[in-house]
């Protein structure tokens, strides 16, 4: 095998609840600290202990760190999935296993190199506590990985020092286990393997962070004071992080009081209700949830839309429908969020692609919610929310001031004769609101029932329509304020590729690979809804476009056909929705297959074909 430096992928197969996550995270972080572009994808079950779990690490000096699917090394530590795991190693690749027990000959492959280390035996000999014997096996294989992949042991040991700075005994055990695995490999294998690590300097301006932590931090910086939620995978860690940051940065330095309130609601119906109540009173308030929570929130989202009350909803998408697969990723809530609630409703959506954008778009969501007095959704997903990503260091612009939208002050109210809630709209169709308790003239009656532009109850068709029509215009006007798409043109491109959110890295990598083969495409990643004119013109300038997304029903494509002037036939879907993050391979295969189905000269007169679902 030809030596490959900083360009490989490994997969680790474990049993969940055995402590493998910290060993896997340790490896990933060590590679990050070596200055090498890296990603880690945790493919975990909805379970506390005993079910299969995988972790994938991709190292790529050029920064292609979407999921790989092409594994050079399998760390096979779960006998339940062994048969499946061994099949996934590519020809000539390696498999690391626990050789304390003989390998089932039926599972051996001639074209794969087997590296056996007797981890159970080593740990039994070196550790006395039964729990420790299990936990330390993980650190021991991390030690082996350091040896075979040429990881910097000083960095790994340093990470253990940081992690266990206050737990001396644990630190000592971990270092010992690390050494056991490392020494065994050095004594028995040729180290390093042909593919391995070498220190780079690509990460000096980067951090390693998950999207849920980043979005929570964004909410702190945006000035959110009220957060209401109901625990749900995969969004729980967002509120955990918000709480952690608030305890650190939101205790009043003079009084020690909490300049925030986090309400763990009885359900998601209540959570959104609390957000609406708080926002009605003028607080920046948000909830974090997942698809099942959005389903429950539908009722009150319609109230917020119709009564024009700001609300920020973070939806960390997981696999639906119903309970679906709570620990798997998908982009299946696009349409649900775009039109949440009964009757005619339309909402503003933001689609961050990575944790850095989660941080950046959180204050934007509050600004939009208050500017347009309406719910705003931030749609992330499990892959963005729960996996650690290498992203540029987060920046904060000190000149940022929250856009509180049109809110009348006591002085404003003093000057006017009479306040009427839904009148005097500005160029964006937004009418000024008042906050309770500010001034006697500001009082009005908020209602989800039929109301006229004065806020009064009505059942009259013309009065009802007047308000509803303005709401439609208001939603349209917000298109100019949502983040504009990211577009990358390529000279000679003969079609477009459209995607959103966490598909970003995989799709851009795929387009680079296709370009190497002479297949040239322009790229657009939409970042918000309603779509602005940039989206419209991208659609117009291409004869046809692929729409790549992670759901079965082509939801982004549907939204594009519903909400732009693009003819449906121009859009061809590539759909990957099994629950694991997207890989460039899915996209390359999908596009080549689709193009291959068209006769070559017909590229210019592309004929639409049925939806393409990619084998995962």
């Amino acid at each position: 095998m030809r030596a490959r430096v900083n360009d490989f992928a490994i997969k680790l197969a474990n049993v969940n609840g055995t402590g493998s996550a910290s060993a896997n995270g340790l490896m990933m972080q060590a590679i990050f600290r070596m200055g090498i572009p890296v990603s880690g994808k945790n493919l975990f079950p909805s379970n506390i202990q005993g079910l299969p779990t995988w972790y994938e690490i991709r190292v790529n000096k050029d920064g292609y760190t979407a999921r790989s699917l092409d594994y050079d090394l399998m760390v096979a530590m779960n006998s339940q999935t062994y048969a499946r795991d061994i099949r996934e190693v590519h020809e000539g690749g390696y498999l690391l296993y626990d050789s304390s027990w003989p390998l089932d000959p039926a599972l051996v492959r001639d074209d794969v190199n087997f590296l056996g280390v007797p981890y159970a035996q080593l740990c039994n000999e070196n550790f006395r506590d039964p729990r420790e014997r299990i936990l330390m096996k993980n650190i021991a294989y991390a030690g082996t990985l350091c040896a075979v992949l040429n990881a910097d042991m000083d960095i790994v040991a340093g990470l253990l020092d940081e992690k266990y700075s206050t737990k001396k005994a644990l630190r000592e055990s971990n270092l010992r286990a690390l050494r056991l695995g490392y020494d065994y490999a050095r004594d028995h294998f040729q180290c390093p393997l042909p593919f391995h690590l070498e220190t780079m300097n690509a990460n000096s301006d980067k951090i390693l962070i998950d999207g849920n932590t980043a979005i929570a931090l964004g909410c702190v910086y945006a000035g959110a004071t009220v957060a209401a939620w109901y625990p749900i995978t995969p969004s729980t860690s967002a509120m955990d992080a918000f709480k952690m940051f608030c305890e650190k940065y939101r205790k009043d330095p003079e009084t020690g009081k909490s300049n925030y309130m986090i309400l763990q609601a009885e359900d998601e119906l209540a959570a959104i209700g609390m957000v609406i109540g708080a926002a009605w009173n003028g607080a920046r308030a948000f909830t974090s949830t997942a698809g099942p929570g959005i389903s429950l929130m539908n009722e009150l989202l319609g109230l917020a839309y119709y009564a024009e009350i700001p609300a920020v909803v973070i939806d960390v998408q997981r696999v639906g429908p119903s309970t679906g697969m709570p620990t798997r990723t998908q982009q299946g809530d696009i349409l649900e969020c775009a039109y949440a609630s009964h009757g005619d409703t339309r909402h503003i959506l933001l689609f961050p692609a990575n944790p850095a954008e989660c941080f950046e778009l959180a204050p934007k969501a509050f600004d939009l919610a208050e500017r347009f007095q309406t719910p705003v959704f931030i749609l992330t997903d499990l892959d963005i929310g729960m996996n650690d990503w290498v992203v540029p260091r987060l920046q904060w612009n000190e000149s940022y001031q929250p856009d509180r939208g049109r809110v009348l002050s006591a002085e404003d109210l003093e000057k006017i004769a009479k306040f009427q809630r839904y009148t005097n709209e500005d160029e964006n169709q937004v009418a000024a609101r008042t906050l309770p308790g500010v001034h006697p003239k500001g009082s009005f009656f908020t209602r989800g029932s039929g109301h006229n532009k004065y806020g009064g109850y009505t059942e009259m068709p013309d009065e009802y329509r007047e308000v509803m029509d303005r709401l439609a215009r208001k939603h349209k006007a917000s298109a100019k304020f949502v983040p504009t798409p990211i577009i990358q043109r390529r000279a000679g491109a003969n079609f477009g590729v459209i995607t959103l959110g966490g598909c970003d890295l995989a799709v851009r990598e795929a387009l680079d690979r296709l370009a190497e083969q002479g297949v040239l495409a322009d790229f657009m990643r939409v970042r918000g809804f309603p779509f602005d004119e940039t989206v419209q013109s991208f659609l117009e300038m291409h004869y046809f476009c692929f729409v790549i997304e992670q759901n079965r029903d082509a939801q982004l494509r549907s939204l594009l056909t519903l909400e732009t002037r693009v003819p449906k036939e121009k859009l061809r879907s590539i759909l990957v929705y099994g629950g694991f993050p997207l890989s460039a391979k899915h996209v390359v295969d999908g596009i080549l297959k689709a193009l291959g189905e068209v006769e070559k000269p017909a590229l210019a007169s592309f004929v639409p074909m049925p939806e393409l679902q990619i084998e995962e």
């Binding site: 959110a224 940065y249 009081k257 209540a270 109540g277 009605w280 260091r393």
Partner: protein
């Protein structure tokens, strides 16, 4: 409340409260409920109570869900901020509103469908959080707007207007509140303004969640023979267990004490409730005794009314949260945003 239109001009002899406002300043739009509806009497009691304690109208937030009862916030205190939300969802909305601004007086108006069926869970959790909120259940045992279905508070054996008998056990908000650790529980009758007004005033002064179950007959769908929520039935079976007077902080309290059987409870804001004519085995601050008393008398078919239970020792939602004294909405943004230097520093943990 008015159920009749009144002239805009007020008579000079109308009494004024400490703010110089007349009772007319606490009234709302014309009621659209049926003539004789118990809810209108509750509205009238609210108007009086709010006027008597001299609250600035715009410092009141009146919230409701959906149903006949939930229409009533329109009928009192025009100058207050109103929020007619969704069926059963008023408690979370009031909770969020209170979280953001603890300075307003929150009046939540609900009904038995709103509170005991679709929003039962929300009410229970608002009680647990001890949100400072006057929570009035205008309880008529029936769904009025959808024309006469039994609600969850309908008693066993009670008959609908069409003659159907209810066989399911009722949910009793008073007993429920006691089991959930509610800190202020009262039951009253819409037809008894003398009892209701002081209870409402005490509820407003209460430290946390004040649960008021007010029997409020539905003249259209539940005021017939065989109903246990009719005017006649309630008047015949009402047991006024406890008379309570509300004494604002500025008043002389001592004068009333010493009366036979009287109990005085000091409220968190320094005001007091005087319980008069309290039965021998009754202590409105002793949960177990209250439960025993209610079970004994309700077992006899009596509707026990009065301010039944008070516990001023439990902190409200904000106290539990260690919230600042100023409302969260008034904490300046500079205090909320940790700034770029902190961001730079904290990112060292993400290396």
């Amino acid at each position: 409340m008015p159920s009749i239109a009144k002239p805009i001009a007020t008579h000079p002899s109308l009494q004024r409260n400490e703010l110089g406002l007349t009772i007319r300043d606490y009234e709302g739009a014309m009621s659209t409920l049926c003539a004789g509806c118990g809810h209108d009497s509750i509205t009238a009691a609210l108007v009086r109570a709010l006027w008597e304690i001299s609250v600035q109208p715009h410092m009141i937030a009146k919230l409701s869900g959906i149903g006949c009862s939930s229409k009533t916030p329109t009928y009192f205190v025009n100058g207050a901020h109103g929020f007619n939300s969704a069926h059963g969802r008023m408690p979370p909305i009031a909770t969020g509103a209170n979280a953001a601004n603890r300075e307003l007086i929150y009046i939540g108006i609900s009904g038995d469908g709103d509170s005991l069926s679709i929003g039962l869970g929300h009410m229970c959790h608002a009680i647990r959080r001890n949100v400072k909120l006057v929570y009035v259940i205008e309880n008529n045992g029936v769904y009025g707007l959808t024309k006469g279905q039994f609600s969850a508070s309908a008693d066993i054996g009670t008959k609908s207007k069409k003659g159907e008998k209810n066989r399911m056990a009722p949910i009793d908000p008073v007993m429920l509140g006691l089991s959930l650790g509610a800190t202020f529980i009262a039951r009253s009758f819409s037809g008894d303004k003398d009892q209701l007004v002081p209870i409402l005033k005490a509820a407003i002064a209460h430290r946390g969640f004040a649960l008021l179950d007010v029997i409020s007959p539905c003249v259209t769908f539940n005021d017939h023979d065989g109903s246990t929520k009719s005017y006649l039935y309630t008047r015949q079976h009402e047991l006024k267990a406890i008379e309570a007077d509300f004494v604002p902080p500025a008043s002389e309290i001592l004068a009333h004490i010493g009366k036979n059987g009287a109990v005085s409870v000091t409220m968190h804001d320094g005001s007091a409730i005087l319980f008069k004519g309290v039965p021998a085995n009754y202590d409105p601050t002793d949960r177990e005794k209250v439960i025993a008393y209610l079970e004994e008398h309700q077992g006899k078919g009596e509707v026990v009314t009065g301010l039944l239970y008070v516990d001023e020792s439990v902190p409200d939602m904000h106290e539990m949260n260690h919230s600042p004294d100023v409302p969260l909405i008034r904490v300046p943004y500079q205090k909320l945003c940790p700034g770029s230097a902190v961001l730079d520093k904290l990112q060292e943990d993400f290396r």
